[in-house]
Amino acid sequence: MTVGRKATWTFFMLGVLFALLGAVALVATSPDAAWADENDSKTVRVGYYENEVFQEGARDDAVKAGYAYEYYRKLAEYTGWEYEYVYDDFSTLYQKLLDGDIDLLAGLAFKEDRAAFIGYPSAPMGNETYTLVKHDTDAETTINPDSLNGKKIGVLNSAIADALNRYLNGQQIAAEVITFDDYEELFAAFDSGDLDVMAAEGDGAYGRNHAEVLFAFGSSDYYLCTTISRPDLLAELNSAQTQLSIEEPNFVSSLRTKYYSSSISSRAFSVDEREWINTHDTLRVGYLENYLPYSDTDASGHVTGLVKDVVPAIFNNLGISNLNITYSGYKSYDEMIADVRADVIDVAFPVGGGLYYSEENGIYQSNAVVSASTELVFKGEFTENTTSSFAVNENNRMQYYYIRTNFPDAEIAFYPSIDDCLHAVLDGKVSCTTLNGLRANDILKNRAYKELSMRQTTRDDERCFGVEIGNMGLLKLLNRGVNVIGADYAQGLSYRYTEGLRSYSLIDMILDNMATVGTILFALAALVIIFLIHEARRRDRLVVEKEAALEELEAKNQELAKGEKALSDALVAAEHANRAKTTFLNNMSHDIRTPMNAIVGFTALAASHIDNEEQVKDYLGKIAVSSEHLLSLINDVLDMSRIESGKMTLEETDVHLPDVVHDLRTIIQSNVTSKQLELFIDTQDVVHEDIIIDKLRLNQVLLNLLSNAIKFTPSGGTISFRVIEKPSSSEGVANFEFQIKDNGIGMSEEFQKTIFEAFTREQTSTVSGIQGTGLGMAITKNIVDMMGGTITVVSEEGKGSEFTVDIPCKISGKSAKPERVPEFDGLRALVADDDTHTCLSVCSMLREIGMRPVWTNYGKEAVIRAKEAVDQADEFNVYIIDWLMPDQNGIETVRQIRKFIGDSTPIIILTAYDWADIEQEAREAGVTAFCSKPLFMSELRDVLAKPFTSSVDDSDQSVTPRDFSGKRVLLVEDNEMNQMIAEMVLKDSGFEVEIASDGVEAIETMKAAPAGHFDIILMDIQMPRMDGYEATRQIRSLEDAEKANIPIVAVTANAFEEDANLALSVGMNGHLAKPYDIPKILETLNELIP
């Protein structure tokens, strides 16, 4: 397969440009009257550019050849033209044609806009087929044109692109067509996998092993064009082409066969062919006996004849070397055909006699292996009556078919063999018989047939392979193979086997040459002696050579066998992966189509109601929801593929567990509230708050379970999230159990079995009314597995579900050992919360630090107990009150308690919500401090320490300033003044500061810097070109894991909770507000930089 193609197509666009230039030239050039003279021969200037196969030898001293060259020569026979060849590259020649500096140029496609500048003859000089090619690993794209929907198809920016667009429009296929200016780029894009499908000329595979031809989608004629200034030449060309088509109608097609037939030899197998190859390791060949040179069984019972060369040659040429070929001989053609149909053999050879009879027999006939004339064999003079009766070998049905087709009126007499047929002719029982052209000469040389004459018939008879109708894969392989080995191959070998046709006995010879026999005998004797001596010497030498050759051959064979084994192993692996991928894609298609349909549908609806603003808004909202769903699906798929390809790694860092839990609460709070669900979060026995884990992934797991709980629990339901530390047997490891429980719709038992597999959902989204990708739980499970943990589920349909995730975590440096604090020893505490779990958990923590807690579920009871304690002079030293309690809210409770206790006793409000809105009211009511739920030990100690050590809010109390020397910050900020301030602050703390003015610059800087160069990024959110969220997303997906996991802190003037959530959701580690709060900045930096 040649890579060089006609350069014409590459220059179509250039052509258009030149055409315009040509128009200018045209004005200056008028037809030259002198050329119009009719001479016997005239010299015509042909633009001759080098192009493999098409037009070769573009130099003065080179031998010219090629499709175009032959075409010029043939034309000269009709026009009497003499040629002057002008050599250059195509584009230069094209310009010369426009300028009238050359007269002819070959290989131009017809373009309407060009017809005004170039002389197009009415007939083309050739035709090019366009083919679509896909990757052989792509199982999704098939010969069904619909499978091209949504594919990326690359095509040369040329006439092929027009043909492709016509085809796609005609088939109503929505594919993404990408045009390329030259083949190099197109091939590169295809090879790299950027393109799903490539449109190209010929079979289009260009020797690519990984390419597979889909189908031809169009074709285009190309022309031998004249310069516009020579209408005389155009007229002569037209008339020559007309003459040529009348006198030699097949000239163009035979030229095409001669030069481009090899294009189907590409190794790009079609689907059928590949299927056959994949399912067969043996090829059973049936052959006709007694039919040399085609086939026979030799004296030792082995196959002989062309068949034993042609079949292996075909498969070797196709690169299919591990096929085991077996042969069985048949005396009778009919039996052989019957066995093809009975699947006893895969292929029969030879078959022939024409398409009609092959259809009757239920077989496909391959391309001709040999096309030979049929010889009529008769005795005496050839007359009209010679063909009146035929002897036919009853074991060679091909002969019968041939005679029935070509001599329908002849009488036919059957004989058991061709010898019997020939004898019948000799004996005058019939007037003639036929012999295949390759056989006739040698058979008739037998002395017995000396009296027979032969005469060639006008019609060739083809000898082909026969396979059962329906076995398309094998048929195509054979056809392809026959073309590859070429028409001459079999004929060239036939002489090897024709010897056997002639039994030229000694008696025959003596009878033939009585006069010279004596002389010959003597000479023969002398020769034999000389020969024997010579031969003996030669043999010695040969033996040594042969042995060496044999060894080499064996070594090569072993190498080959090894290669084959490796290849077949790889094939099996690839096929397996392919199947998995197909299943995956099938499952995906539905999930992707659902939101996509919604988007498409609502877009159309919006377009048709464009004037109704309300309605359009509504549609846009629905489109947005579907888009988000689609995006989350794609994100899940990407996650899943990262997991499956083993690319997902855990980035373990120091994590403060309370942060994780509080962040989660913040994120889900709004959904919980808007769905009117009740959320309980509490902790139990959590001692180790600082652990080492991949925070992002832990978040992902818990968030997924919590979101599911919210999703599958109807309004008014309850969700509880508990974090429990279980005793651990190994040092330095804490076993955490996360329980997420809801009283939602639950799951069937069957579904619980498959919930952790990819693409499962209890019901289709349309049935359950709940959307989801079906990948979430599979991802969750995979992440938990990677963390060395377990995940289990207990669920009952209609009652709810409970997921339990157990993860062993390494404990980081400092451990919050339960320590009794002397100041608290023996002090009393009152805990009021409507959730008993919370009460128990808080009380157990209080006890651990040495306090004596009591608890109640009711606000009113808390007031009574407080009063009672005062009365009993055993006052509580601290109150921990839940904000929201059913009977009486926390603030009111505090207000009432404050009435009879002093101002100095701390009252702490425990809440699962943001307390900013109620802070003022609460402070006025007498609240000392706030704590968010769930309460962790460290937080409890902090909050208790504050009121006891100082009554003033100590948030201004700055930590000892840390020296950040040697640490480097990337400051991403678009405002120069903010840059200056931040830079100053950061430098003052010892940081080195580098600045990027927007998201794009930040990503470039990160890419360019070595990993570990920066310790942290401070990221503004609102920036031109690319905002901070997108920049973070892109940094998080950098290939270098160290770079991708750099701490990123959002710095924004939007101090809203939802912005903080968004920042966390894109993978930021923290959120700072503008204007800069310097202590807060330093605190955050201190936390995030080790």
Binding site: N975, M977, V985, A1053, K1074, P1075, I1078
Partner: protein, 110 residues
Amino acid sequence: MTLDDLIAFGANVDEGLGRCMNNEGFYLRLVESLKGEKGFESLKAAIDAGDLDAAFEAAHALKGVLGNLAITPLFEPMSEITELLRVKEDADYPALVDAIMLKWNEFLAL
């Protein structure tokens, strides 16, 4: 311009200085350079043209700078208009901008 001028104008000089590590020269240089800020004109032009998106961008950027330098008399109305523009609330923007421009001219005269 001196710190006293700024205090008289109503700026929270302590806060601004604190942000500049109490480097008076640096702080004053930044505040001085604020006078070259083109954002106010952009904000006014955007409001006049009714382009609330452009107005939001301008106001948002100014808010950040003014906040950092603690130029309270400008920062506060800027924060207000920014939040209104963020949600494109139906408000008398020209009046708000006029008030800001009045303060701005006052600042320029310092």
